[in-house]
């Protein structure tokens, strides 16, 4: 039997059990496919594919400071992606993480520029980070309310709110929160020292001396562990998984669909907000109008690439961060545009989606 498609003369037969082999191998295959395409692109542009891949993937991690940068970029990405995996598992399409990240930065800044210098670093920091998480969660609760109360699809509302968040950021940094001594730059004052995330080198880990690596890495690792345990072994995690797989079974179990949607959106929003707070209190040290996190969208790729599993998401975040930094290298070393990063992310996501087919279906030739 043919699939009636003009292109393909094979048929897809569903498997009784998803193929374990394929589900483990597909992320690897996706990376191979993407690497081949990257190499081809470099060749097309007149550069050596090997030099290109080296600049992209290997040179960023050739030094401790290089690795630090990759880790720094990967941490907020990981935090956001881990939060998104909770929403996606529950079949809630939160694609506005970018906006929730920005709100997180705003929330942290709200605390940072109003907290007195005399406040202890510990409490000021905690407050700022929590404020960021709360702000992100709140931003995501708006689509949750619209969905549960009016039935509005969250795919569009979360997305549209990203643009609103960007404008809010612009207004705050050019208006009420602009640094009065900042020579009219659209940014806030620099945060006091008690509100900047401590660097790992300052905490005694000499490997990272001279680098900017801060404790955001620890937060990222902790979040991966926390969400893994949460989804696998907590009552709410169970509810979310079931509601994502089978809404009728969820009703049978007695779970409220409304609670599930609120939980999925506010949890993922809070993680995104936390990530934004971490970045603003970490490497930025202030809020700027031109701040474009970008990882709100990349996190979607990371979540799918990691097949919604915490450990794999961690690795995917590292890979994507590597590609992001590597593409700036590619730009400098080979004169190629840095847009290659977004392109490769898209290709990666597409590959993993396509290869997912092999997990659920067997391919048979038709006569």
């Amino acid at each position: 039997m043919s699939t009636r498609s003009a292109f393909l003369a094979f048929s897809l037969e569903p498997r009784l059990q998803p193929s374990k082999w394929a589900s483990r191998a597909s992320p690897l295959f996706a990376m191979v496919v993407t690497a081949v395409i990257a190499g081809a692109m470099f060749a097309l542009l007149g550069a050596s594919p090997f030099k290109g891949i080296q600049a992209l993937l290997l040179s960023p991690i050739a030094s401790a400071s290089g690795m630090a940068e990759v880790l720094l970029k990967a941490s907020p990405l990981c935090l956001t992606a881990i939060g998104l995996s909770v929403a996606f598992k529950a079949n809630v399409n939160n694609i506005g993480a970018e906006g929730q990240v920005i709100l997180g930065g705003i929330g942290a800044t709200a605390v940072a520029i109003h907290a007195p210098e005399t406040m202890s670093a510990w409490s000021a920091m905690t407050l700022a980070l929590l404020a960021g998480a709360a702000a992100g969660g709140l931003w995501a609760s708006l689509p949750a309310w619209l969905r549960t109360r009016f039935g509005v699809n969250e795919t569009l509302t979360t997305l549209l709110l990203v643009y609103v968040a960007v404008q809010l950021l612009s207004w705050l940094t050019t208006g009420p929160w602009r640094d009065p001594q900042g020579l009219n730059f659209p940014e806030t004052t620099l945060f006091n020292a008690n509100l900047v995330l401590p660097k790992l080198s300052d905490l005694g880990w000499s490997l990272w001396s001279g680098t900017r690596l801060n404790i955001s890495v620890i937060f990222a690792l902790a979040s991966a562990v926390f969400v893994h345990v949460f989804m696998a072994r907590s009552p709410m995690g169970f509810r979310l998984v079931v509601s994502g797989l089978a809404p009728r079974a969820s009703a049978y179990a007695g779970f409220s669909a409304t609670t599930g949607i609120w939980a999925a959106l506010t949890i993922s929003g809070a993680f995104s907000g936390f990530a934004g707070a971490v970045e603003v209190c970490g490497t930025l040290g202030q809020l700027q109008a031109g701040w474009v996190p970008g990882y709100g969208f990349t996190a979607i790729v990371a979540a799918y690439l990691g097949r919604l599993s915490s450990g794999l998401i961690l690795l995917s975040a590292l890979l994507l961060a590597l590609i992001d930094i590597g593409s700036t290298n590619v730009q400098m070393a080979l004169g190629l545009p840095s847009a290659v990063s977004a392109l490769l992310q898209g290709v990666l996501l597409l590959s993993i989606l396509g290869l997912d087919l092999l997990v659920r279906y067997r391919i048979r030739r038709t006569t």
Partner: protein, 312 residues
């Protein structure tokens, strides 16, 4: 500036700003009527814009740059279709991937040529009607693309409401399972819908760059792709209502530009944000009314497995 002058500028601005939304929205409407939601609009529009910029700066021909935009859009649509229709991937993440690819590809393409300003589009004056006060200049002295877009919308309306093929499209969008039972080739219908739709996204992006903004900027589409998706919902999947909706959205943008001259003392961010907020409010009203559920193509977003004859 006199009041009539402001009004004319406003109306004309609304029409011009509405154009890219209308084209992209029409493309999405066609795709969604067959049951496929394509979130790759934003990325495809960007590719169309970049391609049109390249062609325009080399050839100075608006026609060729529009055609190039359409072709590039169709290519992206074919890719999207390959994954969602033949490889049975889920429509939403696939659309996001296409947008990411489009963003990257367009950035790269845009850098191939020196940034430059492009020549503005020629305005077509409709004889007699363009002599009318106010309306004449605002509505009947527009670039050719405006009339083409309106003609396309009207054709689409007629196609869905009065032709047999249009009926078949609606049938596939309602229930691909039944359509297959009755003997339709669901994959073929969906492919056509997706590719034609994507061609329109490419055209929308191409026009936005080479016919409206007249220069290239990274990510210049700035969310208009997403607005187009919202517009389709607002219009209840009807082409004629789509025109009205696009005009309204265009008007919001036009007000932004005219705000200074109109003496509105509002922070610029509030004006920029208004279309997005309005979209959200509009979406809420539609969903709350419940009548939207009557108009939604029932198979929207669902992957159709040809062998199992099942929706997933």
């Amino acid at each position: 500036m006199s009041d009539t002058h402001v009004l004319v500028s406003l109306l004309q601005g609304a029409m011009l700003a509405a154009l890219p939304l209308l084209l992209a929205g029409l493309g999405e409407l066609i795709s969604e009527r067959a049951g496929v939601i394509n979130l790759g609009v934003e990325g495809t529009m960007l590719v169309g814009a970049a391609v049109s910029f390249l062609v325009m700066s080399h050839s100075q021909s608006l026609l060729w740059s529009m055609l190039a935009g359409i072709a590039s859009g169709m290519a992206m649509g074919a890719l999207f279709g390959l994954f969602t229709i033949s490889l049975l991937t889920s429509q939403i993440p696939t659309g996001m991937a296409i947008t990411a690819i489009g963003m990257g590809l367009s950035s790269y393409l845009g850098k191939l040529v020196e940034p430059q300003a492009l020549a503005p589009a020629q305005v077509v004056q409709i004889p007699l009607l363009s002599e009318l006060p106010v309306v004449g200049e605002a509505l009947f002295s527009l670039p050719a693309m405006a009339y083409i877009a309106i003609a396309m919308c009207t054709t689409a309306w007629w196609f869905f409401a009065h032709t047999r093929t249009g009926l078949a499209f609606r049938a596939v969008g309602d229930s691909p399972v039944v359509a297959r039972q009755v003997g339709f080739d669901v994959a073929r219908v969906r492919y056509i819908a997706v590719i034609v739709g994507a061609g329109l996204y490419g055209l929308a992006g191409a026009y936005y760059c080479a016919g409206y903004v007249l220069l290239w900027q990274e990510n210049m589409v700035a969310g208009r792709g997403w607005m187009a998706i919202a517009l389709v919902m607002f219009a209840g999947w009807r082409p004629l209502r789509l025109m009205a909706g696009a005009f309204l959205f265009g008007a919001l943008t036009a007000v932004q530009f005219q705000a200074q001259t109109m003496g509105l003392k509002v922070p610029s961010q509030l004006l920029t944000v208004t279309p997005y907020l309005v979209t959200i409010i509009v979406l809420t009203f539609i969903s709350a009314r419940g009548s939207a559920s009557q108009d939604v193509p029932r198979s929207l977003g669902k992957t159709f497995h040809p062998l199992l004859s099942k929706l997933m």
